[in-house]
């Protein structure tokens, strides 16, 4: 079977990323960022805390760096004129978007994979053998999350006409509000819509609140990985979720099991739906961008 037409472009994108030092600096940073056992999470998860390290590595720092590695991928080529080479090749504009997303995803996954292996070795030595299935599961969901982030950043990069604008949208909007600050922004949004005040230490058993929180790709990612960890139904970091579950402790994190204690949980709050949310984030922005990218003037 012949390779897809966009394969050489994807390879070029991956090579360009892997040749830059910035990409590989990500690996040690993620190890330092991800490693952080707590007594409570060790008590609840045992050796599987190591799997939790991978989740922490995948949160905040990883999305920030993946956006940094991707956000200029098309606008930069457009400004410099090198896009004329790509557009001159026997590729559709959709091929160009796919090649960019696949290539940059591979380029971003490799340093993350390296850091996951290092975290696995450190964690395995210090805390004993973890469940390999859970480790691989969280690893694969993180790979998916990386691809979703690359897809979002590529979409933004494809439709913008200025680097300043794509920077504002991705880092001010997507990263700051939707990824880093969504626990605050989402709850405010919920309160504004419903008029209900929310006590973060004892959130109401309202499906809408949790659905809004889960809209954030970062929280959807953690909902799925907490599910794989067998911890609880929550978009919070596993250490916070463990603290909420631990008797006599509380922290401002939103955990479905704790809020709904005993009451029926709406079906749309099932963890598998968070996986769907993540997939939609990977597809919808890119599809919208493709619509405009296919029709616009690019030189």
């Amino acid at each position: 079977m012949a390779l897809p037409r966009w394969f050489p472009l994807a390879r070029k994108e991956a090579v360009a990323l892997l040749k830059s030092k910035g990409t590989w600096i990500l690996a040690p940073l993620l190890v330092v960022w991800g490693y952080g056992p707590t007594y409570i999470s060790w008590d609840l998860l045992g050796p599987d805390v190591t799997v939790g390290f991978v989740q922490v590595a995948g949160s905040i720092l990883l999305p920030l760096c993946v956006l940094l590695l991707t956000y200029r991928s098309i606008i930069q080529e457009r400004t410099s004129g090198s896009l004329k080479f790509l557009l001159g090749l026997p590729l559709t504009r959709t091929d160009i978007l796919i090649g960019k997303v696949v290539g940059r995803s591979v380029g971003a996954v490799l340093p993350f994979a390296l850091s996951a292996v290092v975290l696995g070795v450190i964690g395995g030595v210090k805390f004993g053998l973890f469940s390999p299935l859970r480790f691989i599961g969280v690893f694969l969901v993180t790979v998916l999350y990386i691809a979703v982030l690359v897809s979002i950043a590529t979409a933004a990069s494809a439709v913008t006409t200025s680097t300043v604008r794509v920077t504002a949208v991705l880092f001010g909007g997507f990263f700051l509000l939707l990824t880093l600050g969504w626990k605050i922004v989402g709850v405010r949004l919920y309160s504004a819509v419903t008029g209900n005040a929310v006590n973060p230490l004892s959130p109401p058993a309202d499906g809408l609140l949790f659905a809004i929180l889960r809209f954030s790709p970062g929280r959807a990612y953690r909902t799925v990985t907490n599910w794989i960890l067998g911890l609880a139904n929550s978009g919070g970091q596993y250490t916070s979720v463990a603290t909420v579950l631990y008797p006599g402790h509380s922290v401002n994190e939103y955990v479905v099991d704790a809020a709904f204690s005993g009451q029926p949980v709406p079906a749309y709050l099932h963890e598998s739906i968070a996986l769907v949310v993540l997939l939609l984030w990977g597809v919808i922005p890119l599809a919208l961008a493709r619509y405009r990218f296919n029709r616009g003037d690019l030189a």
Partner: protein
């Protein structure tokens, strides 16, 4: 019957109120070397951008080697080689990587080394393009345009940034490609350099093709002696209002 290499019918491009190209009707036969001339801002790059699907037309149609250039991009670009104007190369990638991208995407079997030899850049094959001078970038782009023995070679301002050796090299490449049977369509605002290579020229002025034909025919039209250059023809034709002139080739 083979379709023309390039055929446009009422091809127009407007940016808001600004008319960049006004109803261009142009036919370039397969196998000819066509010099697309005119001052900066005349619409030459707009035309090439349209033919290469870098931009979409406001109105009008075009055919490139019989293909719709906007809806049949893959089949069209498989047979076209482009050396664009105002581009940068990928600074972290070597000359070899640049060529491999084009060779593999076109599924051609060219040897990057042989292509770089043709443009005098083989010594820099493993160097990242970020270290290249403008002239070297231009040579690399020319090598990229030659991949896969294109039926149509589009060179947008190919003399830009080249020293006299580079200019001679472009002429040699154009001649060799033409002998191979390829159509060469190139734009230039440096009028003096085209006399030697073109079968036919078209002069674009303020978004209009004001004249088209072989150099001897153009000289006759303008009542000029046989040693008159394209520059002289251009000065006469653009002195006063731009008028549409069709010259029999």
């Amino acid at each position: 019957m083979t379709p023309p290499a390039i055929e446009t019918d009422g091809l127009s491009k407007q940016y808001g109120e600004t008319v960049a190209l006004d109803a261009l009707n142009m036919t370039v036969a397969q196998g000819e070397v066509y010099g697309f001339l005119g001052p900066n801002g005349a619409g030459k790059s707009t035309t090439i951008n349209l033919l290469m699907d870098y931009i979409k037309p406001t109105s009008g149609t075009a055919r490139v080697l019989g293909h719709d250039p906007w809806n049949d991009v893959v089949a069209c670009h498989q047979r076209v080689g482009i050396c664009p104007d105002r581009f940068e190369t990928y600074e972290s990638l070597s000359a070899r990587r640049h060529l491999e991208l084009v060779i593999d995407t076109k599924r051609a079997d060219d040897d990057p080394r042989a292509l770089l030899e043709r443009v005098g850049l083989v010594d820099a094959i493993e160097r990242p393009a970020g270290e290249f001078s403008q002239g070297m970038e231009q040579r690399l782009a020319l090598a990229m345009s030659l991949v896969g023995q294109p039926d149509l070679l589009i060179l947008d301002e190919p003399f830009t940034g080249l020293d006299p050796h580079g200019v001679a090299l472009v002429r040699d490449v154009v001649e060799a490609e033409s002998e191979r049977g390829a159509t060469v369509f190139f734009s230039s605002h440096v009028l003096g350099q085209v006399d030697l290579v073109c079968d036919r020229v078209g002069i674009l002025y303020e978004g209009d093709l004001i004249v088209e034909g072989t150099l001897p025919a153009l000289r006759d039209t303008c009542d000029l002696s046989s040693d008159a250059t394209v520059e002289d023809i251009f000065m006469i034709l653009t002195d006063g209002s731009a008028r549409a002139t069709e010259v029999d080739a």
